[in-house]
């Protein structure tokens, strides 16, 4: 595979950024939701 560097960079940056964002999002959910009661949330 020529230009392997570019291609791996693409995949790595994209998937890495997205997965990191997802992780940060879940952590933020946990932190902000500390005060919330499980039953009060409209999606449960």
């Amino acid at each position: 595979m020529d230009d392997a560097g570019f291609i791996f960079a693409c995949y790595g940056v994209t998937l890495g950024a997205l997965l990191m964002y997802a992780g940060v999002l879940l952590r933020r959910a946990r932190r902000t939701g500390r005060a919330a009661k499980h039953e009060d949330l409209p999606w449960t």
Partner: protein
């Protein structure tokens, strides 16, 4: 005299549920968990097909592999902004002015900005491989860049503060104005570039033809990125709900705790 009988089973069940809840996220539901797993499987497929299983293109060799990422991110970015515009309209024009529309619009715009940034980066890398340049001044690329900057402005406006309804109203108006602005930008840039009729290094209008296994890889990318988008918007929107509702509560809680500490210290 009354005896309280300890409800052992009930307590055990409660403890187990609490333990489970600690591992599952606050914003998760059964649906979102299934969605997440399917998305991860799809992304894994994408990596396998995109990097390994799909063949090389005759003309472009392996740079076509970048397209399996680039096209889906572009698609999701535009989808996200379409959703933002739609939800902005729903918020403004429905008499209930439900804040849920505003939250979905905001969540979608944040994720859209991220995907748009990734689109620009992956597109630049692909352009470098295919045309030899990182950038070309054509209507599609320029509009993409403008969309990116416009929605960064939108995100900044969302942070201006004030009541939640004020934020929603401001953002919704801005979201709809962006829908007006982008076609104008696109059209004027296209008209502008059509003046430069010399043969350019980059021919952005030459779309790549994909078929067979390559097309399948692209489809896998499109589907899994769309699922990922849905999962991200779902969670982001719920986090926004939590922030709206509980950030004040969190502050009050911290203040109350601090006050209680001070009282104890002064008493003891």
């Amino acid at each position: 005299m009354s005896i309280t009988v300890p409800n052992v089973e009930g307590e055990q069940l409660h403890a187990r549920r609490a333990w489970m809840r600690q591992w599952r996220g606050v914003t998760s539901t059964a649906f979102s968990r299934v969605l997440g797993i399917v998305t991860l499987v799809g992304l894994a497929w994408l990596v396998i097909f995109g990097l390994v299983l799909s063949p090389e293109d005759e003309i472009q060799d392996s740079s076509v592999r970048i397209l399996y990422i680039h096209v889906p991110t572009a698609w999701v970015a535009y989808l996200a902004f379409g959703v933002t515009a739609l939800c902005s309209a729903m918020y403004l024009f429905r008499p209930a002015h439900s804040l849920t529309w505003d939250r979905i619009a905001g969540a979608s715009s944040e994720i859209g900005v991220m995907f748009m940034g990734l689109t620009l980066v992956t597109g630049a890398l692909w352009g470098r491989l295919t045309w030899g340049v990182f950038w070309a001044w054509d209507a599609r690329l320029t509009t993409t860049a403008f969309l990116f900057v416009t929605y960064i402005g939108y995100l900044a406006v969302r942070r201006l503060g004030g009541s939640h309804q004020a934020r929603a109203r401001r953002s919704a108006v801005l979201g709809l104005l962006a829908v007006l602005e982008i076609p104008l930008v696109h059209f004027s840039v296209r008209l502008w570039r059509s003046l430069h009729q010399e043969a350019s290094v980059a021919n952005p209008n030459g779309d790549v033809k994909l078929d067979g296994l390559m097309l399948f890889s692209l489809m896998v990318g499109l589907v899994s990125f769309t699922l990922l988008y849905a999962w991200l918007v779902l969670h982001r929107q719920r986090v926004m709900y939590l922030e709206d509702r509980y950030e004040d509560a969190d502050l009050d809680l911290a203040l109350a705790q601090r006050r209680a500490e001070n009282e104890e210290n002064s008493r003891g």
